[in-house]
Amino acid sequence: MSWLQMNIDFEGQKLAEVIYYVVIISGAILGFAVGFIYQDLLLTMEIFAGGIGLSALLVFPSWPLYNKHPVRWLPAKQVTEASDDEG
């Protein structure tokens, strides 16, 4: 089931957070403006829901963009003597 976890790296997490902030807030502002102009609150809610849907589409899957900076682990130490290496 690991394919369903859709893990992304640290830089990708930062980027994904910025993306959904921007998309949801601009969906709300655009919805407010359009709904106010057309005097239709349903339109506001639809645009806001569209913003949520778009951010879900952009952020939920582990797009390759979010995995450009894979964590580089230090090379494994050569374990010579098990008891000395406690650290």
Partner: protein, 174 residues
């Protein structure tokens, strides 16, 4: 944010925050939207009859009215429905303010907000807490309550108000 479940949680939690702010903004801005409803309640006829309810004789009024109102300007983006009522208001010896709803209606859409009703009779019983109206004057006005999707209820009433006197009872109780 590492896994899909964490991202989904973050997105939905943030959406909830934003929708509360959005609806708060809608609720705050709605009272500042302009409206200018026109209402006209014309009382054609009032008849007062006395009835004997097992010993206590009381007067009951029967009103015939014409109602013309254009409430379309009360329908803005945040109006769910309107509750409109024709209210008779009078000052009696016992109470300074007496308000009696004669007729009411719920208007759910802007299409229905233009009301023209002729020969409208009072829907609810019209009698005073006292047995008699004592031929005092009463005003007849249209009141409205605009119920919003988000925010506070807004109320108002028609500005031009006419005073009409209760007539003498047409029958004397036996």
């Amino acid at each position: 944010m590492y896994s899909l479940a964490q991202r989904a949680n973050s997105v939905f939690a943030f959406s909830l925050t934003v929708i509360f702010v959005l609806l708060g903004a809608v609720a705050i801005i709605t009272p500042f939207l302009p409206f200018n409803p026109t209402t006209e309640v014309h009382v054609r006829d009032i008849a007062v009859w006395t009835y004997d309810y097992g010993g206590s004789i009381s007067e009951i009024a029967f009103v015939t009215m014409d109602l013309e109102a254009d409430l379309t300007s009360l329908f803005n983006w945040n109006t769910k429905q309107l509750y409109v009522s024709i209210v008779a208001e009078y000052e009696s010896d016992t109470y300074n303010v007496n308000q009696i709803i004669l007729w009411d209606d719920i208007i759910r859409s802007k299409r229905d907000a233009r009301i023209v009703l002729h020969q409208l009779k009072n829907k609810y019983i019209f009698n005073d807490i006292n047995p008699s109206f004592r031929e005092i004057n009463a005003t007849y006005a249209l009141h409205w309550d605009a119920m919003p999707y988000a925010g506070l209820l807004q109320s108002g009433r028609s500005k031009s108000i006419k005073r009409v006197k209760f007539p003498k009872p047409e029958n004397m109780a036996s």
